[in-house]
Symmetry: C2
Subunit: 202 residues, 2 copies
Amino acid sequence: MGGMYHAPVMRELMEQFGKLPGVGPKTAGRLAFFILSLSEREVEAFGAALVNAKKTMTLCPICFSLTDITPCQVCRDETRDRRLICVVEDTADVFSVERARDYQGLYHVLHGSISPMEGRQPEDLRIKELLARLTDGEVKEVILATNPDVEGETTALYLAKLLKPLGIKTTRIAHGIPVGSNLEHADAATLAQALEGRRELP
Amino acid sequence: MGGMYHAPVMRELMEQFGKLPGVGPKTAGRLAFFILSLSEREVEAFGAALVNAKKTMTLCPICFSLTDITPCQVCRDETRDRRLICVVEDTADVFSVERARDYQGLYHVLHGSISPMEGRQPEDLRIKELLARLTDGEVKEVILATNPDVEGETTALYLAKLLKPLGIKTTRIAHGIPVGSNLEHADAATLAQALEGRRELP
């Protein structure tokens, strides 16, 4: 919204919206004015929803996903397969995997990925907590489902090396062409991985 | 984020984000999880910014733009040309025109446009307040800067007809703005051209 005069309360609100991922200064301005079009009651409900979510959600002491109950919905579910742990970077990734509906094991949330560039070291992640979960011999396989970018791959390789001496099967989710997508739209790196990961048809 | 289990506080926060213009369910989920990555202090500041903006901003009793001071920054500015009133749909449009830097007159914010389809009638807009501003003979020209869409054009034609008997010059901003677009999204140069190319309505 340029450098012209804005009321301090509006400038502050635009700054807050501007912190959200994917929201530039123009969108922030539009959102701030949208807020003024709501009733005071509606705006208070929005503010309360922000604070309530932050205050209520805590880390599951087992898998470290964000949850409103302890332990979380997945960890307390007796029907889940406790021999499998799927390792992801963030709690949002748990929901992505759950949406696929195929997975019935447990999770472990690292809370980030290794990135020497951005100063994120292995000790900043929930790695020793993962190792602690593997000591009782119940877990038979750890699926590394970190993101297929440089940081996620680095993290997966680091964990694979760490888990090898424990004698637990360690797997990495497959890379390839997204289902319903098109070869034409796939980038070279994805296609190279899809070719490398090819499997024989029955 | 699909139909799977979400904590009620997260579901509520996603719903609140989903009310924002241009935010679908997927983005709402992403934003809700982003909020949890902030500190409690940061989230409280966000919530306070929402409520403060809504509580502080009121309508200028002269031009009806949203303002934190009464009368607003423009109406109180003695250097502005009081013979000119630029009529816009929303307060955000005032900032769009200000960004063009070419305009030195006053404003009048209608708070919407005429849309029989959506049940918005002339009496729902700040039209009689505009007419009241034209009674003392100081205003020589009314520039109709409603959006160049069906509702905006309808509103401009309605106002032109209403103002004609008053003997005040009534102009419409030129179509330098892409038709079907929005004042808010126009760049400064286009808006400046649109203002310069304004024509008197017959």
